[in-house]
């Protein structure tokens, strides 16, 4: 039965339901169709609203907040153009499994379908890019949709949901404050029981001589870091992580072999070739990691995932355990035995020694790898780091080691330029006491650069590390290596003066160009808890290595030392 009380407006109810769900902060941008909700939000003492400069900023902030706190991220937009500006961020959250609730205003129900002012079928548009979405036509349905949407966003494999609220529904009065019954099947929100034989599963691992754990973003979503560490140590098995899994296993741990995949370490990718057993923990055999059916060719493959649709989707596996990663590891741990794997560990150590991450640091120019290493040392690896997309993203993934989950925020699946700055802002709102650094490039930075105003307005201590090579660096790298140096439209023949630009927003900024200025630069950048921007001029020719060319396998890895051969 519905619990009934006095009638309140839909808008009022929306605010109260958000408060009841424990939402403390929302990122948004008002407009005509969402004004009744905003009017009620005005009175809320529990919910802080962050006014962004573009709705794409709002959704990425919600992502950064969700990713760094493990909580639900909420973003708000009005109908039509406001709502469509959320599309990129929602798609990003879908591919990276980030729990986001997007609330959009819609034209009144009597105007829907008439091409009314600022009308867009955001329900239809977001079907393929949300985990769930709904158009709410009656205020009486509001509470049920809220409960369903939040449960779906957070439950199972997390993801974005969108609720679309016509203006008249926000004004309509209702007494239904609690969902009387949910219309979705329980498996969409109940934590699933682990399915599969944990003992048999563990025994295959026990039988392996050269096991490798391959940890993905699911490890972070299920808060399974402690369990993964226990498993790796008990089994004496090296651990590699995907881009999304960085931080799920300590990057400084002796068993860590760093990131694998297209720009992963040479030793991780070589370990994939040599292992006789690979255990995928919450990753999805993404195409930047695993070539279709050609991955870990000498290994028995095993996979633990909460999403049954991921099993055998791209890569066939031999053993499956379906369920929440944390629960699943807890089930197999008692059956895991140590075994003598000394020669395998020694093999890994020698791979690490013989194929280190490498770059040429001679000359007077600043190398981004060097700079990131120094930032890592200076911050003792304790900062939350967000990135945009491109070379700087891969350098940050390689040279800043992450020991803790929820400290690495990057757009892995979609590769969204413009993600970094707003994600850092969202993370800082969620973690005011931690240092948050946005690593970006001159291309990416300009895609959501307007959010500098959001930093300024909230006096937010977000640090921006801007690598400037006056190029779209990753595009340039591919053009250099695979398109015979035809740099078609990858050079910025105009870039603004980023230092002056930051100054215009009241953000302290500095540019450095020579190696001799690095220490001064790092000190300036990290000196206090306030915001700062450092623009580091780097050579346009600098490349990201190692590299597995797109569509190739681990066998075809190119290391820094192979560069000479490659260019012949």
């Amino acid at each position: 039965m519905s619990s009934t009380t006095e009638a309140i407006t839909g808008g009022r109810l929306m605010v109260e339901l958000l408060e009841e769900a424990g939402v403390e902060i929302v990122f948004g941008y008002p407009g005509g169709a969402i004004l009744p909700f905003y009017d009620e939000l005005y009175h809320s003492k529990k919910i802080k609203h962050i006014l962004v400069r573009h709705e794409q900023g709002a959704v990425h902030m919600a992502e950064g907040y969700a990713r760094s706190t493990g909580k639900l991220g909420v973003c708000i937009a009005t109908s039509g153009p406001g709502a469509t500006n959320l599309i990129t961020g929602l798609t990003d959250a879908k591919l990276d499994s980030i729990p986001i609730l997007a609330i959009t205003g819609q034209v009144s129900t009597d105007a829907i379908g008439t091409d009314a002012f600022q009308e867009a079928d955001i329900f239809g548009i977001t079907i393929p890019i949300t985990k769930y979405n709904a158009l709410i036509k009656k205020a009486d349905d509001l509470s049920r949709h809220f409960e369903e949407a939040i449960k779906i966003a957070m439950g199972g494999r997390p993801g974005p949901v969108l609720l679309d609220f016509p203006k008249d529904v926000q004004l309509e009065k209702t007494t239904v404050r609690k969902a009387s019954a949910l219309k979705i099947a329980p498996h969409h929100y109940e934590r699933p029981k682990v399915k599969g034989d944990a003992q048999a599963f563990a025994e295959v691992l026990n039988g392996a001589k050269r096991p490798l754990l391959y940890v993905g973003g699911g490890a972070i979503n299920s808060f399974a870091s402690a369990e993964i560490k226990a498993l790796a140590e008990k089994a004496n098995a090296p651990v590699t992580t995907t881009l999304m899994g960085l931080g799920a296993f300590p990057g400084t741990h002796p068993l860590s072999v760093g990131m694998l995949g297209m720009h992963g370490t040479a030793y991780a990718n070589k370990a994939v070739l040599e292992c006789d057993y690979i255990l995928n923990l919450g990753a999805r055999f993404d195409d930047r990691v695993a070539k279709y059916q050609d991955f870990a060719p000498n290994a028995i493959r095993a996979h633990v995932d909460i999403d049954a649709a991921e099993f055998n989707k791209r890569i066939n596996v031999d053993h499956i355990l379906h369920g929440d990663l944390k629960d699943a590891i807890r089930e197999i741990l008692p059956f895991v035995k140590g075994g003598d794997r000394t020669s395998w560990i020694e093999n890994i150590q020698s791979l690490k020694k013989n194929h280190p991450l490498d770059f040429d640091n001679s000359g007077d120019s600043i190398k981004p790898q060097d700079f990131l290493q120094r930032v890592y040392t200076k911050t003792k690896g304790e900062a939350i780091v967000s990135t945009d997309v491109g070379q700087h993203q891969m350098w940050a993934a390689q040279y800043y080691l992450f020991d803790k989950p929820n400290t690495w925020l990057t757009s892995g699946g979609l590769g969204t330029m413009g993600y970094g700055l707003p994600a850092a802002i969202g993370a800082k709102f969620g973690n005011p006491d931690k240092m948050v650094i946005c690593v970006t490039g001159d291309g990416s930075f300009q895609m959501c650069i307007q959010e500098l105003a959001t930093i300024a307005q909230s006096k937010l201590g977000v640090k921006i590390l801007l690598f400037n090579n006056n190029f779209l660096g990753m595009v340039r790298q591919w053009q250099e290596l695979f398109y015979e140096e035809r740099f078609s439209e990858s050079q910025w023949t105009y870039n603004p003066n980023f230092v002056k630009l930051a100054d215009a927003y009241g953000i302290p900024a500095m540019r450095i160009e020579h190696k001799s200025e690095i220490d001064k630069g790092v000190d300036f950048f990290l000196k206090d808890n306030g915001s700062a921007l450092i623009e580091v001029m780097i050579p346009a020719e600098e490349k990201v290595f190692p590299m597995i060319p797109a569509g190739k396998s681990q066998q075809d890895l190119i290391e820094f030392k192979d560069l000479g051969k490659l260019k012949k």
Binding site: G124, K183, I184, A185, D307, A309
Partner: protein, 162 residues
């Protein structure tokens, strides 16, 4: 290989888009789709026929089950289910071939809905192969209009039935 999926979904707007959109964006082709409400007004039954190997059908099933409005997915094996399709066909006849047409209709257990001087409107239901058979036999007369429902299916309760 053809597979018939019987899917129970919540009966509200947009569910059809969610389901068909899933096929579109993953590049799977739907041969036929038929939807109707069940005895429970909140639940609809969809029958989707698609062509694909076991891997593709497995993927489709897994992805369908991820949609919150999808309650149940059943892959109907031909031998253990009844599969039917309804077709309405209007075709031309002449004085000379009218009796031949009527004989065919009789033989196939076709229901005649309308007969004019120069046309017949018929109804036929059967499995998709039978429906296609009827259509091919009628084709030489000259089909004017045709409307097929797409296949629906239901599993036998007794799995020994054929």
């Amino acid at each position: 290989m053809k597979h018939t999926l019987s899917i129970l979904v919540n009966n509200h707007p947009g569910v059809m888009s969610h389901v068909s959109g899933l096929f579109t964006r993953r590049g799977y082709n739907i041969d036929s789709i038929a939807v109707g409400v069940t005895d429970n007004a909140d639940v609809s039954s969809m029958t989707i026929v698609l062509n694909g190997d076991d891997f593709i059908v497995g993927q489709v099933k897994n992805q369908l089950l991820k949609l919150p409005d999808v309650l149940k997915v059943q892959d109907m094996a031909y031998a253990s289910s009844v599969q039917r399709e309804l077709v309405l066909v209007s075709f031309s006849i002449t004085e000379s071939n009218r009796s031949e047409a009527l004989t065919i209709c009789n033989g196939f257990d076709v229901k005649i809905l309308e007969m004019t001087e120069d046309s017949l409107l018929i109804e036929f239901s059967g499995n998709s192969r039978q429906v296609s058979n009827v259509i091919s036999v009628i084709k030489p007369f000259g089909i004017r209009e045709i409307s097929r429902t797409g296949q629906i299916a239901i599993a036998y309760r007794n799995q020994n039935s054929v």
